[in-house]
């Protein structure tokens, strides 16, 4: 498919990368901006029944139905902050190599902070322990204004296969809960 679409933040020839910084919970995270299609305000989502709360719901974007992930839940943050009028849905276009299909997913974030240029040579690796999100979601740390920000490994965060299988399991659980009542 299109070679301009990086499957994650890894393959970059340029020295400088542009990242969209978003606030999820209380922390800032970086999302590679190349594949960000657009950022829209938080609209009313439709709940998909019998799904875990990682799925916020689905929305209508100009006639297509797009699933929206709740990024706080997806990153497994313990303390969640309620979404407010500053919350946004980041629409992310990507090509999934395992499914050989390009798709669009929405990520619900607490707010959009800024767009930053990141010098590739000044990246630091993520902490070996002590992070508040699962380590495989982190790619690198970027230091901007003396503040460390986690750059997300978006291919892992938006791993469709993994989410799909957990959803299937979840659905089964809903039925079991229902029948056991």
């Amino acid at each position: 498919m299109s070679e301009t679409q990086p499957d994650s933040g890894h393959i970059h020839q340029k020295d400088e990368l542009r990242y969209l910084f978003v606030k999820v919970g209380h922390d800032h995270f970086g999302i590679p901006i190349d594949s960000v299609k657009e950022v829209i305000e938080l609209v009313e989502t439709t709940m998909v029944p019998m799904c875990s709360d990682v799925i916020r719901g689905v929305i209508n974007v100009r006639g297509s139905v797009i699933p929206v992930l709740d990024l706080q839940r997806r990153l497994g943050l313990k303390l969640t902050t309620p979404y407010n009028k500053y919350s946004c849905i980041v629409l992310y276009d990507f090509y999934d190599h395992s499914l050989e299909e390009s798709m669009t997913l929405g990520m619900l974030v607490n707010s959009v902070v800024s767009i930053e240029f990141i010098d590739l040579s000044k990246l630091e690796s993520s902490p070996s322990f002590g992070s508040n999100i699962p380590r495989h979601f982190e790619w690198k740390m970027a230091k901007i204004n003396n503040k460390l920000t986690t750059l997300l490994d978006i291919a892992k965060v938006l791993n469709v296969n993994e989410i799909n299988s957990s959803l299937k399991h979840e659905q089964e659980q809903f039925f079991i809960d229902y029948c056991q009542r």
Binding site: M47, V48, P49, I55, G57, V58, L167, F174, Y178, C179
Partner: protein
């Protein structure tokens, strides 16, 4: 110079494939055809198909294809002239030719030389054909020799010309009258008999069409070819036959068939020449000793409805159709939104206009969806060959009956259902139908019956494959399933469920693996493919009497008539045709009676129900009096869904939910409402089935 022929070649390949398919169907029909007239028609169609392929292949210089089709065509021509009977052996030869031609064309189009095996096969076929042709030629010689000595001559004294111009002659600038006029000037005592009845036929009169046909008789001392020359310019636009004095009876017989009215022709002929006064008798007595087909010139017009159905079709790229349907879908959504806005304004005229528009949109929706519908007959016809080949290979006798070939279904289904059907048919012949000896011993007719049947049933399409073979051996299936660890030995299953075990992966009760089936791979493919189309499979079987496999498919995938209801402020849609009735829950059962039970007594029938609110994990309860009950049915399953409120019918454009939600059983898609919000489409059958299976699984644990 190089011209890019690739697109032309692609067209040639698809066209040839279609022609070859037609040819195959024709050949198989021919095998069972008893009426000579129809057989001739089929042979003509075969001839045309093979001739077209030969011609096109010639354009592209596909040498092997031309060689093979040429010789096949030559032999077929003999059959067309009635000098050769197409027996089973020849039909097999032609079927093989068909296959070889197809592979040759595909290879040639890919610019690959055929391998040696294929070439050998082609050479083999060619030599087979040559053998027939040689044998045949000697026959013809004898035949013609015999005929020339025959007294097949008439004793007419006047010349007769049979002149039947085509309907289009006038449009093509030819006037039959001018030819007759010229004939009159060249000959003497011309008598013209004109048949004009068809002008008053039921169809509308078209002044540009020719409705006339003529029988001309005259005296002349010219030669036959000189007379024919008079009609030279109209030759390609008319049927012309010249019967000189003491002419050949075959010419007469052939010509009579060209006229639509037998009474007219007898009268015309009797006027034309005295010897034809008793034309009927003449024909009859001649007809008995001739080996020509008995004349079927009866009172009815000769326009026997053609058996080979010719429908006018237009080739359209599937992608364009899909796009059209997408756009229609958008229109439906926007229409619903506009309607909503119109209602908000309260403007009566606007609302009325909108209602009209909605109806039009609905019509457009239906007709554009119909564009994608194709008859299942084409798919079914493919199985004639499959059945014939497999039955031959296994030494069984199987008769295939096709019912409901005109049933229409979505094109995507046709493609996806063909594979599963193939597995089912193979299984039926291999495992179901017994060999002739066994059948006779069991008092069944020697020939096994296999039936493919398609019909519409309450919003779905049902495809049935039934055989009158030995049926499923449930004990054996159970034993095998336990051996394979698919079920535990102390499990008790209903008959229906035992039968369904044959669809489990790797399941086979056949003792030996044959070429055709027995590996146990086929049937799980069936189940998987059908599931992916939101369909279901059922098996009915009576041991010793045969089994029937029922495939149930939804009518269409993209736009459905839906029924909308609300659960916890969210809208949900289910297919309208699964809804049997709607009730207020409190009218059927009081709150004290129901407690925490999940079934009701509806008109003395037990009806289990699912409370969607609870299933979806919503803790908050609503008042019992506000709850509604939607009774749904899918196949033989019937259950209730308890919902918050009913919204009614809704035209639903099905939007895929994408890979993220793939495989989630109860959710079949989403749709966009007039308000722009999304509603989830629930898969009713999966919902009920999941509930049942989870209940059963839990029970077993206790």
């Amino acid at each position: 110079m190089s011209i890019d022929l690739s697109s032309a070649i692609a067209t040639f390949v698809t066209e040839s494939k279609e022609l070859l398919q037609e040819m195959e169907n024709g050949l198989l029909d021919l095998e069972s055809e008893t009426s000579e007239e129809h057989a001739n028609e089929i042979i003509n169609a075969l001839f045309r198909a093979i001739h077209t392929i030969k011609g096109s292949a010639g354009i592209f210089d596909f040498e092997h294809v031309v060689t093979l089709t040429h010789i096949a065509e030559t032999l077929l021509e003999d059959a067309r002239n009635g000098n050769l009977q197409l027996g089973k052996e020849l039909i097999s030869l032609y079927l093989e030719t068909r296959d070889a031609t197809e592979s040759l064309i595909v290879l040639a189009a890919a610019e690959t030389e055929p391998d040696q095996a294929l070439l050998n096969k082609v050479n083999n076929l060619v030599s087979c054909f040559s053998k027939y042709i040689d044998a045949d030629n000697t026959q013809i010689d004898q035949h013609t020799a015999a005929q020339s000595s025959n007294e097949g001559t008439l004793d007419n004294e006047r010349w007769i010309v049979f002149f039947v111009p085509n309907e289009n002659v006038l449009r093509n600038g030819l006037d039959p009258y001018s030819f007759i006029h010229y004939l009159d000037s060249e000959t003497s005592n011309l008598v013209v008999n004109t048949w004009l009845e068809s002008m008053f036929g039921p169809q509308q009169y078209d002044p540009e069409s020719n409705y006339l046909s003529f029988v001309l008789s005259f005296d002349s001392d010219k030669s036959e070819s000189e007379i024919l020359d008079i009609f030279e310019f109209i030759q390609s636009e008319a049927y012309i036959a010249v019967l000189p004095p003491k002419g050949n009876i075959d010419v007469l017989k052939l010509s009579i068939q060209k006229y639509q009215d037998f009474d007219f022709i007898t009268e015309a002929l009797s006027k034309a020449d005295q010897s034809f006064v008793d034309i009927v008798k003449l024909l009859n007595c001649e007809g008995t000793d001739s080996n020509d087909p008995p004349k079927k010139v009866s009172d009815e017009p000769a326009a026997v409805p053609s058996k080979i159905h010719k429908s006018k079709t237009l080739r359209v790229e599937a992608l364009k159709l899909d796009r059209l349907i997408d756009q229609v879908g958008e229109m439906v959504i926007t229409g619903a939104r506009t309607n909503l806005l119109a209602h908000e304004t309260g403007n009566e005229t606007l609302i009325e206009a909108m209602a009209l528009l909605e109806r039009l949109v609905e019509n457009i929706r239906d007709s554009s969806l119909k564009l994608r519908m194709v008859q299942i007959g084409e798919t079914f016809n493919k199985f004639k060959r499959v059945v014939r080949d497999i039955a031959d290979e296994l030494g069984k006798q199987v008769d295939l009956t096709i019912i409901g070939a005109e049933t229409e279904l979505d094109k995507t289904f046709v493609e996806k259902v063909s594979d599963p059907l193939m597995h089912i048919v193979r299984n039926a012949i291999d495992h179901g139908i017994e060999d002739p000896e066994t059948r006779l011993a069991q008092g069944k007719p020697e020939q096994g019956q296999l039936t493919l049947k398609a019909y519409h049933d309450s919003g779905s399409i049902v495809i049935e494959v039934s055989d009158d073979g030995k049926g499923l051996d449930q004990e054996k299936i159970l034993k095998r399933a336990v051996d394979r660890g698919l079920i535990s030995s102390n499990q008790t299953l209903q008959e229906k469920d035992i039968n369904l075990l044959i669809f489990e992966p790797g399941f086979s009760t056949a003792e030996s693996i044959t070429n055709i089936s027995g590996r146990g791979v086929g049937m799980d493919v069936v189940k998987r493919n059908i599931d992916s189309l939101r369909g279901s499979v059922e098996v009915e079987s009576v041991q010793g009497e045969g089994s029937t496999i029922l495939i149930r498919l939804p009518l269409t995938l993209s736009i459905i008539d839906g029924f909308m209801f609300e659960v916890h402020k969210e809208n949900y849609v289910i297919p309208l045709d699964t809804v049997v009735e709607c009730l207020e829950l409190h009218e059927v059962v009081s709150e004290q009676d129901i407690q925490d039970k999940s079934y009701i007594n509806l008109r003395t029938e037990v009806l289990p129900f699912i409370r969607l609110r609870t299933l979806f994990g919503i803790e908050e309860q609503i008042d019992h009096t506000r709850e509604s009950l939607v009774i749904v049915q899918f196949g033989t399953l019937r259950a209730g869904l308890v919902v918050d409120s009913l919204k009614g019918e809704f035209q639903t454009v099905v939007k895929p939910l994408g890979r993220l939600f793939e495989g989630l059983k109860c959710i079949s898609g989403a749709t966009i409402l007039g308000s722009g919000n999304v509603a989830i489409i629930l898969d009713v059958s999966a919902l009920i089935k999941s509930a049942i299976s989870v209940y059963e699984a839990l029970e077993k644990k206790h």
